[in-house]
């Protein structure tokens, strides 16, 4: 017990986040201290990041709560992305018609939930942590109560989420029934192919496929991404999606890795269909939030390529892709939140805010996979890992999809620089969204020019989970 207590420090980042969640909740009860609540949240995230930095390289566990380099990398991603979302929110919530304390509290609780997810090594902790994050994000999506579309988004998200939770619970209980264990490592040793295991597998793929918005479980994504407040959309794309991929990794690689032969083909097919459908449907969207939602679906497909490849590089690059995707999407939703969600509202953006215009251009090129930007490298490693596993058709489909995607990202760039707009509102105002966009852009450029340290860290990290 004394031993366990001495490892209490590994959970301190989560404790900081939860404490600050309550602080933020009480800081803005009457809607008069909106910015204060935002800054408290930001401070909470920054403190947690700083503490987490001191934990680099620390390995330890509190019962089934594990901190290893894998969990560390994901937590860093969650905290950093949530901090960016908090920065976006400070400006974006000026339009809120009520107090914003609970918004920030929910944001921090959702982040804490995601952080617990990546540390969970048994099914029960995993499920509870997952639900903490999910429930908070349902409420976040519906946060603009006075906006019909935000309500619709929240409700849709909740219903789909509840359904998928039920599927996941069924799947998990079947696995428990088969193996009698809840610890992921014990499960991977005990489980073997059987009809019931297949049933569990199908339910888990459907349930978690929903969370990462893999086709055919993606239907909610465009509506929710479009309807939710844009700062929340940034959170869903950056943090929730990464959490979904983390769960995929933990359940399928760590828990069901021994059944690889049974699920690899399914995941590979889902990855191919997800990439293709996301990119093709995105071609015809005129609402940028919706277009980015479909792009987000496509990017989930890219990440699944790495899981289907099932080799160290594939898993590392799936995580890497979530890092770059978080930066690109958080940044682009920041700009969209500031400028408006129809593509016409981006027309002539360069005249209104040169910094935002340039940052958005970098995001779009990075999403399309132009070298040398961060988005190129993560895709490169994903497809390379698929080749190494002999899934070269999947790699080829991925490359073709990257080509298709250029067209809709180019439309945004065209709107920003080429089409002239009569609208010349606000000339280069330095808003919080621009700050967030600049942070993301800097990250993309640095990782793009010098990706070596990131991929090295992640390759180190996945040694902890790869069997």
């Amino acid at each position: 017990m004394a031993d366990t207590l001495s490892m209490l420090n590994i959970v301190i980042p989560e404790i900081i986040v939860v404490l600050f969640a309550f602080l933020a909740l009480f800081s803005d009860l009457k809607g008069k201290n909106r910015r204060l609540a935002g800054f408290i949240t930001l401070v909470g995230f920054i403190l947690a990041i700083l503490y987490l930095l001191t934990l680099k390289g620390v390995e330890g566990n509190l019962l089934t709560f594990v901190l290893d380099s894998y969990a560390w990398s994901f937590k860093m991603l969650f905290l950093f992305a949530s901090a960016i979302v908090a920065v976006i929110s400070i400006g974006y919530l000026e339009r809120a018609k009520s107090s914003v304390g609970e918004y920030y509290a929910l944001l921090m609780l959702a982040t804490a939930g995601a952080m617990f997810v990546v540390s969970a090594r048994d099914l029960i902790t995993l499920y509870v942590a997952f639900e903490t994050a999910s429930l908070s994000s349902y409420a976040l999506a519906a946060y603009f109560r006075w906006d019909r579309r935000s309500n619709e988004a929240g409700l849709k998200y909740l219903f789909y989420g509840a359904f998928s939770s039920a599927l996941i619970l069924y799947g998990l209980s079947l696995i428990y029934g088969l193996t009698g264990r809840v610890e992921l490592e014990a499960i991977s040793l005990a489980i073997s192919s059987s009809p019931v295991a297949y049933l569990a597998l199908a339910m888990l793929i459907a349930g978690f496929g929903y969370k990462v918005s893999a086709v055919p479980f993606h239907m909610w994504t465009p509506d929710v991404y479009q309807g939710a407040p844009t700062s929340v959309t940034a959170f869903l794309a950056a943090v929730s999606k990464a959490m979904g991929v983390a769960i995929f990794l933990q359940i399928f690689v760590l828990g069901l890795g021994s059944m690889i032969g049974d699920w690899r083909l399914i995941i590979a097919v889902i990855a191919a269909v997800t990439m293709t459908l996301g990119n093709v449907v995105a071609l015809v969207q005129t609402n940028v939030k919706r277009m980015l939602a479909y792009s987000s679906i496509a990017h989930a497909g890219y990440a699944l390529v790495g899981i289907a490849a099932f080799n160290p590089l594939g898993i590392a690059s799936a995580i890497f892709h979530m890092v770059t995707h978080a930066l690109m999407k958080a940044g682009s939703f920041a700009v969209v939140g500031d400028e408006g969600e129809s593509i016409h509202q981006l027309n002539g953006l360069w005249k209104r805010s040169r910094i935002a215009a340039f940052a958005m251009t970098v995001f779009m090129f990075s999403l399309a996979g132009f070298p040398p930007l961060a988005g190129f490298w993560s895709k490169y490693w994903l497809f390379w890992s698929a080749m190494e596993s002999g899934l070269w058709i999947l790699a080829l489909i991925g490359v073709l999809n990257s080509v298709i995607s250029v067209f809709y990202y180019a439309r945004v760039i065209r709107a920003i620089y080429v089409i002239e707009s009569p609208r010349t509102l606000k000339i280069s105002r330095m808003s919080s969204a621009v700050v967030a966009a600049v942070i993301c852009m800097t990250g993309i450029l640095i990782i793009g020019v010098y990706p070596q340290p990131v991929i090295a860290t992640l390759l180190e990290a996945i040694r902890a989970v790869y069997p």
Partner: protein
């Protein structure tokens, strides 16, 4: 170091104009850096000795993938680097057609030159690809923002065509990278290392075709040329200067540097089909140019025809043919930009480029007409212009390699002379068309841009040795190696 210096100067020239608001200062900054980079490339020329790759620089970039920042130039790339910096100077001096967002315009012009110079210098296939893609982006904006009436269509077609070519090209790069990894367990994109690869003949053919496909689109070679008339006609004049002057050369350069270096046996085995494609391209471009009413599309299609000579030289693979092909890249790289500048000036002063609406322009614009005649003579490869030296050398080389087949090219020279002279007769000479309003002769800055190109054309036409000397160091070794 000198190569990095050239790149840094061009890069500075493309970033700094964005930071100033005044159009004049932006232009001066761009011209200043273009001039410095041109001076640096001339300095590199004077320092170039002997043969082989020189001024080599190599730094690890992403070691885990074997990607390095590896630059060097040889007799093939140095002339093209000089051409790039020269055209950077010419394009910035000529400037923007319609004054709007000038600072961005100059930044993009310089960024295009930065990417192109990088393509000519890079000896790491990945670095090559990065520069290759960098070129695409500013050129898209140049056409889409400052282009003519059909700029949307033209810029989109440009980006689709060249991007598809790039993707197929990079797939072939990755395939070679992967094969090398399988054979040796080492990851590298280095050109020298990958050239050592032993690939089975069938796969070599596939890779060869994949590689030349990307470069054919860029050159462009019939039937992948359809993006070119649209892009060249709609692009602003300085954009056309760069498109015709150096972007097409990226295709020709890549052809020699990559597929022909890696798979010389395949290139030899398919010499005849490639030569036939080249001859078809030469004729197609010339005949299509004859049918044009817009001076700019005439010039654009003449580019297709002229780039066919480059491919013909490559197919022949004799020292003379290769020297001719590379010389042709340089010669066309100064003649075609001059023609585009003439067309751009004409459009400014006369308000139209349509040949049937012109007539007797020489009466009102004598200086312009003088330059136009010189440019047309360079276009139709009159002796004492650089193009003549180039095309003549290619034909000599092709005769050595293909005998009778090469004779089929000669009628094309007549067609070429035909459309240039016919256009001159209708547009520039004859009685003055009274419906035409001409607003003065050429401006000073236009004159400077034209004059620089004319000097290059005539000088190399009369005394080609300075250029041919360096090119020969490459082509003799190359043909010997093949």
């Amino acid at each position: 170091m000198i190569l990095s210096v050239i790149l840094i100067l061009l890069l500075l020239g493309s970033i700094l104009p964005w930071l100033v608001r005044s159009a004049t200062i932006a232009r001066c900054v761009a011209i200043f850096f273009a001039f410095l980079s041109f001076a640096a490339s001339i300095y590199a020329y004077t320092m170039f000795e002997g043969s082989g790759f020189q001024f080599e620089e190599r730094y690890e970039w992403i070691p885990s993938l074997g990607i390095s920042y590896h630059l060097a130039v040889d007799g093939l790339s140095l002339p093209l680097v000089i051409l790039t910096t020269l055209l950077a100077l010419v394009a910035t001096i000529y400037g923007v057609d319609e004054p709007k967002r000038d600072n961005q315009f100059y930044g993009l012009i310089m960024l295009t030159c930065f990417g192109t110079a990088g393509v000519f210098m890079a000896l790491d296939l990945f670095l090559f690809f990065v520069f290759w893609e960098i070129v695409l982006i500013p050129m898209y904006f140049l056409i889409a923002i400052w282009g003519g009436p059909r700029k949307d269509y033209a810029s989109f077609k440009f980006i689709i065509y060249t991007h598809i070519g790039s993707v197929i090209m990079i797939l072939a790069f990755f395939a070679m990278h992967y094969l090398y990894y399988l054979q040796t367990g080492v990851r590298t994109f280095d050109l020298f290392e990958l050239a050592k690869l032993s690939i089975e003949p069938k796969l070599a053919v596939i890779l060869f075709i994949a590689l030349i496909f990307g470069f054919f689109i860029k050159m462009p070679i019939f039937p992948f040329h359809t993006w070119l008339p649209a892009a060249h006609v709609e692009a602003p004049t300085s954009g056309s200067v760069l498109l015709a002057g150096i972007l097409l050369k990226m295709g020709g350069y890549g052809l020699f540097r990559i597929p022909y270096t890696f798979f010389p046996e395949v290139a030899k085995a398919y010499a005849y089909p490639i030569a036939i494609i080249a001859i078809v391209t030469i004729f197609y471009g010339a005949l299509a140019a004859m049918a044009q009413e817009d001076y700019k599309s005439l010039i654009a299609l003449s580019s297709v025809s002229h780039m066919g000579y480059v491919l013909l030289g490559a197919a022949a693979l004799t020292p003379a043919a290769i020297t001719g092909a590379i010389f042709q890249m340089f010669a066309h790289g100064v003649a075609s930009p001059l023609l585009f500048i003439m067309a751009g000036t004409l459009h400014h002063k006369a308000g139209t480029r349509l040949i049937h609406r012109l007539g007797g322009v020489a009466h009102k614009m004598p200086i312009w007409a003088t330059f136009m005649v010189t440019a047309s003579m360079a276009g139709l490869a009159l002796p004492f212009t650089a193009s003549f030296v180039a095309e003549f050398t290619v034909l000599i080389g092709a005769l050595e390699a293909f005998n009778v087949l090469a004779l089929f090219v000669f009628p094309a020279a007549i067609v070429t002379a035909g459309y240039f002279l016919y256009a001159l007769r209708r547009a520039v000479f004859g009685p003055f068309n009274a419906d035409l309003h001409i607003y003065g002769d050429v401006d000073a800055h236009e004159f400077v841009a034209m004059f620089m190109l004319v000097v290059a054309i005539i000088y190399l036409g009369i005394y080609p040795i300075p250029l041919e000397g360096i090119i020969d160091t490459f082509s003799v070794a190359f043909a010997g190696g093949v």
